[in-house]
Symmetry: D2
Subunit: 345 residues, 4 copies
Amino acid sequence: MIKIGIVGGTGYTGVELLRILATHPQAQLTAITSRKEDGVPVAQMYPSLRGRVNLAFSSPEKANLKECDVVFFATPHGVAMAQAPELLEAGVKVIDLAADFRLQDLAQFEQWYGISHSCPELVPEAIYGLPELNREQIKHARLIANPGCYPTTIQLGYAPLLKANLIDASSLIADCKSGVSGAGRKAEIGILFSETNDSFKAYGVSGHRHSPETIAQLQRLTEQKVELVFTPHLVPMIRGMHSTLYAKLTQEISNEALQTLFENAYQDEPFIDVMPFGSHPETRSTRASNVLRLALHRPGNGKTLVILVVQDNLVKGASGQAIQCMNLMFGLDESIGLQHVPITP
Amino acid sequence: MIKIGIVGGTGYTGVELLRILATHPQAQLTAITSRKEDGVPVAQMYPSLRGRVNLAFSSPEKANLKECDVVFFATPHGVAMAQAPELLEAGVKVIDLAADFRLQDLAQFEQWYGISHSCPELVPEAIYGLPELNREQIKHARLIANPGCYPTTIQLGYAPLLKANLIDASSLIADCKSGVSGAGRKAEIGILFSETNDSFKAYGVSGHRHSPETIAQLQRLTEQKVELVFTPHLVPMIRGMHSTLYAKLTQEISNEALQTLFENAYQDEPFIDVMPFGSHPETRSTRASNVLRLALHRPGNGKTLVILVVQDNLVKGASGQAIQCMNLMFGLDESIGLQHVPITP
Amino acid sequence: MIKIGIVGGTGYTGVELLRILATHPQAQLTAITSRKEDGVPVAQMYPSLRGRVNLAFSSPEKANLKECDVVFFATPHGVAMAQAPELLEAGVKVIDLAADFRLQDLAQFEQWYGISHSCPELVPEAIYGLPELNREQIKHARLIANPGCYPTTIQLGYAPLLKANLIDASSLIADCKSGVSGAGRKAEIGILFSETNDSFKAYGVSGHRHSPETIAQLQRLTEQKVELVFTPHLVPMIRGMHSTLYAKLTQEISNEALQTLFENAYQDEPFIDVMPFGSHPETRSTRASNVLRLALHRPGNGKTLVILVVQDNLVKGASGQAIQCMNLMFGLDESIGLQHVPITP
Amino acid sequence: MIKIGIVGGTGYTGVELLRILATHPQAQLTAITSRKEDGVPVAQMYPSLRGRVNLAFSSPEKANLKECDVVFFATPHGVAMAQAPELLEAGVKVIDLAADFRLQDLAQFEQWYGISHSCPELVPEAIYGLPELNREQIKHARLIANPGCYPTTIQLGYAPLLKANLIDASSLIADCKSGVSGAGRKAEIGILFSETNDSFKAYGVSGHRHSPETIAQLQRLTEQKVELVFTPHLVPMIRGMHSTLYAKLTQEISNEALQTLFENAYQDEPFIDVMPFGSHPETRSTRASNVLRLALHRPGNGKTLVILVVQDNLVKGASGQAIQCMNLMFGLDESIGLQHVPITP
């Protein structure tokens, strides 16, 4: 059994870790920290866990995280980098669901997150936890930067095309839509029910933190210079993410060949579903599961390829992906504990 | 492995059976019928099942249901009673999720459902599949009438009080609220998104089919004459059911004693959660799981007791309960395959 | 033109006042105060008002509220009672949308609201602003206590029955459901989209502030002792309120006579719609309008009468009703500026 | 008073016409046809109109539409073209909310709508009813093709740029999102609440009927060859439309100049709101009103301009626009009867 610690379990990625780990056959939930909720049973805050998770939150001092095998940080930016060095030194593996270790370029990190990095020496060894692109490195990592939700969909949507050098990397457009849970569990007016329901809007159009992360990762896949216009939107739904990706084809290629390219690229992936050409994946077809589905379209058989990508932002876009990384890091079957069938309706 | 057949798998209780059975360790999905969708892979209609359920729908003629160990009817009223006799004769157990075998009083059945019963001889042996009240009979049944969603909550909420003869059985009021999936997957204007979202209404207030079923079952628990006012409402949510039950106490009794009564009544039940006195259970705390939660209130410490009951109408209110019965009928651990942690948020 | 001031215009009842008053032919929006938003144009906070309301928020000091003809308080409890005396002395009429003047019993006020009343001398002259029951007094009032949203529906639903002494006043049950906007525009976790959508729950079942207000008002209509069980619930919709009222009939009376009783009671009311017996009013049929609809049911033709009442909680349940009072106070046609047709779908 | 007839008043654009016309000071609702609902009062089908619209549906034979001054067709495609010739001959003006007269290219019409045009001789005189681009022609028209909802946003978003020849017309991308009411009031599984809520998807990505209409109209604004990738999506909300438009700038130009271009283009338009550069318009800021809001963004100050456009799909995207045309056709103030303040929250 893997002894597991969670720092910051009161947010949505935290409770999602708990939901999944509660039935993971190799996981032993050992400690969960929250200074503010010290002593409060987790199931009191989240009645959905009554009878399933018996832990109580404890303050960081009381929780002996160093006795864990792995610690997940489901925290705001800045927390993991403060605690990771000590844990790693004690032999504990660390998986950060926030952004502290996602950007290798520290100047960029500081520009977008507005804080200095407190352990820059660890950044180079951090592995970007996207198993479909970095599986071997993840297996041997002790420090994982779990990808952002948007970047997961954009990378997996563009990767086969960039690797095959079929598209113009300088004119990528990612028009992305996220459920409200992506904004976290924070007391903010902007994400109240009465502010977000029955409405739709874009946000961060002039610049969003997931842009530099995505561009840096996409750049690893091509020698062309990557330029990306990334437009996030807020959808009145709890979970779910839909990315509509536009790419200019630079070579003559048939739709069949494009479909085959994607099917081959992901044929052995347990969590990537390449749907038939021309399908319209719905976010609900991934709800509460770790699967990501995608489908290709070529409007008017023109030069623009449209890739539709859907996932559950809290699972494949966050906690499920983190546990997928954990499975790899501990030599387990990658799919163990992640076999939930999506909830429909 | 139990060989399983499903008649009418295109509706919501059908796809929910599939979702749950897809990961049930003792279930082998063998046949699923739909005349209209003959030959269509289940996963084409429900992309959420892609890679998880490989069956295709087949016409009733082609599907050899008699080779199954059990057949679930996730059909409109009237279908199960037409096919049950032949299946039972062939030694197949039958679980009907519709109402064909719920009412022992055939005149009542014909009054409320507007059709004659085609196999009245089977009605007496049909067992009402509410494990918490009829567990032993279910274990030995070959024909199960799976309870309606509303009746499940009302019975489990009132049962300890009626058995203990603490309330006036002639003034029961059940004010119940259901998510829209309870209306099924039918092409009807009234359950369109634009007709039901951001709105709330009652329906069937002057009379609803679940009334006679509920009253008949409640009557089994008390020697008083049961009278029930049952008011169903439609909530703009997909899944979830909340019953607010009112009962007049006829004896002096403390809140502690009432709480203890309920805790004792359900202490060994794997799927019933008696929350602390004064709690407000949310439907989402049961989402996509087989748990039913309830809590007691006594406004102003008066004579009226309020029992709040929540469940997922498609799981404990339908398909999960049916599988719970199946587990009992086949001598399995009652909880097997039903250990899903509710989805929050 | 009536010069109008609004204190606390940043919440939902505040912006709803602005929406309605923006097209009210006799209203001249003169001042709107918010200490925190001093100088911010109203339309910057509420883009829906761009081009329609040109005011900016100003701090209370700068806003010369004494020059207004009437001031609305769309504030939390406790604000109106602090400012009302000075305004009234200056000849300004005051309409409080909060609870400061709703309870004539000061001990009760202090018990439920946890604060002492700062101007108890004004309480006796405050008129409870429910025009259908208190029209004449409202016309001559200078201080209005605008009713709570729930109490409006409960009073208008029970009033004809209590006045005619047809029901048992000691066994009233009001099972009420409100959209989330009723909780206001506050940065609180509990009303986030991801906490409230696709879920349903009761709250305050053991005791809610609207109980004493409702009971005190109902008591004015009958010589029987009023006892009420009031159960509020939260519906995942923005606007709308549905009250399901239960009453025990104490006399033999036909359904036709009951229907006639209600039709006669409200025949001259511009905003009360008595629907045909057995109708199921939907909240959306009142969306964004000042109308309240109700319908009667008698399940199984028994002794229990069910009254279904719907309204928009922000209009007839708050700001629309306040403007209806204003119209009366200034000798205008009661309906002026309130003729919005409900938004469907 | 203008005598008004409506053909097909049972759908969402029909009831929206009724809602708006019920308070239009120059409109006299004269006839509304529905063969299926002959004799049924409109307010029985739409209780929101109780007390506000006293008409009943009548069969086309009984409704004397020729006595109207104008007839709106809120029907599926194919109805208006069958009835328009006779009405026009009788001197009745016709406004078609469907597509019968939107495409001047008949071959294109037949390809996309799958029916032959029954009155091709009228097509050349039909005026495309987008007042902001065709105001003068609308004033003198007797036959209006009311624009599609998506095309309205796309044209008004791109028009100033195309007219000024600032962008590459051959690489336009319109990523558009619509509320579910845009799919109409039809008994179809795909738009049930339980199929669409809490989910998001694209549809018609390989080809949608609004593409040829939009391209044909955009082509009128530029000498460049227009090529458009148009991707519609379905949002779990009732009303609202958000178009995210991408354009490649072909000239050096400052953001200030771009903003000025748009502000000048729409400065006299009563229903177009150019928001400050970098704003994020929400669909709810237009809910139930005829306003269309837009804002410009330039991510990373690069070559791609992003134009965000929002409207209520049933108002400016359909019925409101139709009434705006009617006002122009009858020499009225263009804004009359269309002054609704958007509903927030």
